[in-house]
């Protein structure tokens, strides 16, 4: 659907050339909600702007539906842009126009008949739940409502792709959640592929199925959201995952007497999906002659699948501990020993 092939982008300032993107290879499949996460300056804004040529790649290609955008003639490009909707962090609505006219504008631009515009806009406002605000002006709306209008406007021309540029970064947590659910609904009901960029890992967790982590103009890690959350490989990905999933032993627990020996054996166990409901700990304690104490535990949901993190300290005979470890592995859990002091 969207394909980045060896894309670089550099900006010329007066004194130097800034390389915003240093060779991006990325594929967004049809039906994906693809999230790109990174700190500011990582190049993600530039990346998303390449998809509708708000920025042109310096080298490499961006393909949309198999077509390289830069090869299109201006007229073809304008037609292609109508298939790509975009929403923005600061909404970018026209303050001088009513909600109705704001949503209608992409249709007006393509010369749609008035009657058609009216039905389409009413349908869209209904979909985003703001049918009663048609005659209001943007500044009479809250941030969340403005973004809904932005979404309605982006959907007006029936796009197959929706680009979300930090769409929830200016919203409070509750509004963010509502807007994200709306995006999910769009993805499912209208079969619209979504590419979003954000600096909040919680956004990725809530709606994305795939994620790419960016740093310094490169994609340093990518994969299914589940894989990246379950076992992040790069340091930056780990940092991002940590912002939403706490898998560290709390400092208070560490300093407390909870850890008995000087060289404690500590395991980190990841539960995935249905396995999280199995009574693992009690089974081990019954089967083997070991003592278990829980240092840290939490369960979160990624992609509608429960995902648990358990950190336990094990004491007992070395052989029994070994057997228990093997048992956990054989049962299909991801288990690893954690070294406290490196």
């Amino acid at each position: 659907m969207i394909e980045f092939q060896q894309v670089t982008k550099s900006f010329q300032t007066k004194k130097q050339t800034v390389e915003a993107l240093k060779g991006i290879d990325l594929t967004v499949e049809k039906g994906d909600i693809f999230g790109v996460v990174g700190y500011s300056g990582a190049g993600k804004s530039t990346l998303i702007r390449l998809v509708n040529l708000l920025e042109r790649p310096s080298t490499g290609q961006v393909l949309v539906d198999g077509q390289p955008l830069t090869a299109l003639k201006p007229k073809q490009l304008r037609a292609q842009k109508k298939k790509i909707g975009m929403i923005f962090q600061h909404f970018n609505l026209l303050n001088s126009k009513t909600v109705f006219d704001n949503v209608a504008i992409p249709l007006v631009l393509s010369g749609t008949p008035k009657a058609t515009i009216k039905t389409r806009v009413e349908e869209l406002l209904d979909f985003v739940g703001l049918a009663d605000k048609a005659k209001n002006y943007p500044e009479q709306l809250s941030g969340g409502q403005k973004q809904r209008i932005g979404i309605a406007r982006a959907l007006a021309t029936n796009p197959s792709i929706l680009l979300c540029d930090e769409a929830t970064s200016a919203l409070d947590p509750q509004t963010t959640s509502a807007v994200l659910q709306l995006l999910k609904k769009i993805n499912q009901e209208y079969d619209i592929t979504i590419l979003l960029i954000t600096h909040e890992m919680s956004v990725i967790r809530e709606i994305c199925n795939k994620v790419a982590v960016m740093e310094g103009g490169r994609v340093v890690e990518q994969g299914s959201v589940f894989d990246v959350f379950a076992s992040p490989k790069t340091e930056i990905a780990k940092n991002f995952v940590r912002t939403v999933i706490h898998d560290e032993i709390p400092q208070s627990v560490l300093s407390n007497a909870a850890i008995s020996s000087t060289q404690p054996i500590i395991w980190k166990i990841n539960f995935v999906g249905n396995t999280s409901s199995q009574p693992l700990l009690s089974t081990i304690a019954k089967k083997y002659d070991v003592h278990l104490s829980v240092l840290s535990a939490n369960i979160s949901e990624i992609q509608d699948t429960p995902f648990g993190n358990l950190i336990i300290e094990v004491t007992g005979e070395q052989s029994e501990i070994q057997k228990a470890f093997t048992y956990i592995k054989d049962e299909g859990f991801i288990v690893q020993e954690v070294k406290l002091y490196d």
Binding site: R78, K81, F88, H90, L93, Y137, T157
Partner: protein, 223 residues
């Protein structure tokens, strides 16, 4: 001198004709300078770096020309372009002849003010327009101008008031108007009453223009 008012040396009729001349000069030169200044102002915005028609040639030529025209004092401009005025209206004296230098004075002024107004429009709006696949004319007329309209109204209010002031100086080429009465009767003939009445008339004109402009602008801005 039977038809005088409050002991003025000028007749009421003279005053009314002066009023009419001022309005005529201001209105006609406003129309022409807007027709020239508005497109130039838009051009100054859209040809600058990173904007929708990024073109350093046009921008770097237009920008200093406007600056130069803006630096020439109106009274000098009035005299300097007399040959051109004669070419356009056939005479260098009278109300119509004053319109040419007034346009030369106001058009670059309007271009600069329009530029400022349109630069206030949030870049994000332009980005949104581009993301929708809007053409350059569509971006100008459906996004840039509607979003900058409230500010543009104030711009044209300022320009109109500037023209009222400049038209008073056009008396130097026998243009007539309220300002001319103030100069020739009030100032040069020491007719204080005429001076007071004509200046008061100018004050009222300016006040009316400004408050109308403010009102319309506010209504459009809806804030």
């Amino acid at each position: 001198m039977t038809d005088t008012l409050w002991g003025m040396e000028i007749t009421t009729e003279q005053l009314l004709v002066g009023f009419g001349d001022t309005l005529y000069m201001v209105a006609i030169s406003l129309i022409f300078s807007a027709l020239i200044g508005l497109p130039l102002g838009i051009l100054l915005v859209i040809t600058r770096k990173g904007h929708i028609l990024d073109n350093k040639w046009i921008f770097n030529i237009l920008n200093p020309i406007i600056n130069i025209l803006r630096s020439v004092p109106f009274i000098i401009l009035l005299v300097a372009i007399i040959p051109l005025t004669r070419l356009i209206v056939g005479t260098a004296i009278g109300t119509n002849a004053a319109i040419v230098p007034l346009v030369f004075y106001a058009a670059p002024y309007i271009a600069r003010l329009v530029e400022n107004s349109l630069l206030e429009v949030d870049k994000g709006i332009i980005e949104a327009a581009q993301s929708m696949g809007a053409t350059v004319p569509q971006i100008i007329f459906k996004f840039l101008i509607p979003e900058g309209l409230s500010s543009l109204i104030l711009t044209f209010t300022t320009a109109t008031i500037g023209l009222v002031g400049a038209s008073a100086m056009a008396g130097a080429v026998g243009a007539g108007g309220v300002g001319d009465l103030a100069l020739t009767y009030g100032y040069q003939r020491f007719d204080t009453m005429t001076m007071v009445v004509t200046v008061a008339a100018l004050v009222i004109i300016v006040q009316l223009l400004q408050s109308t402009g403010n009102m319309v602008s506010k209504k459009i801005r809806r804030r």
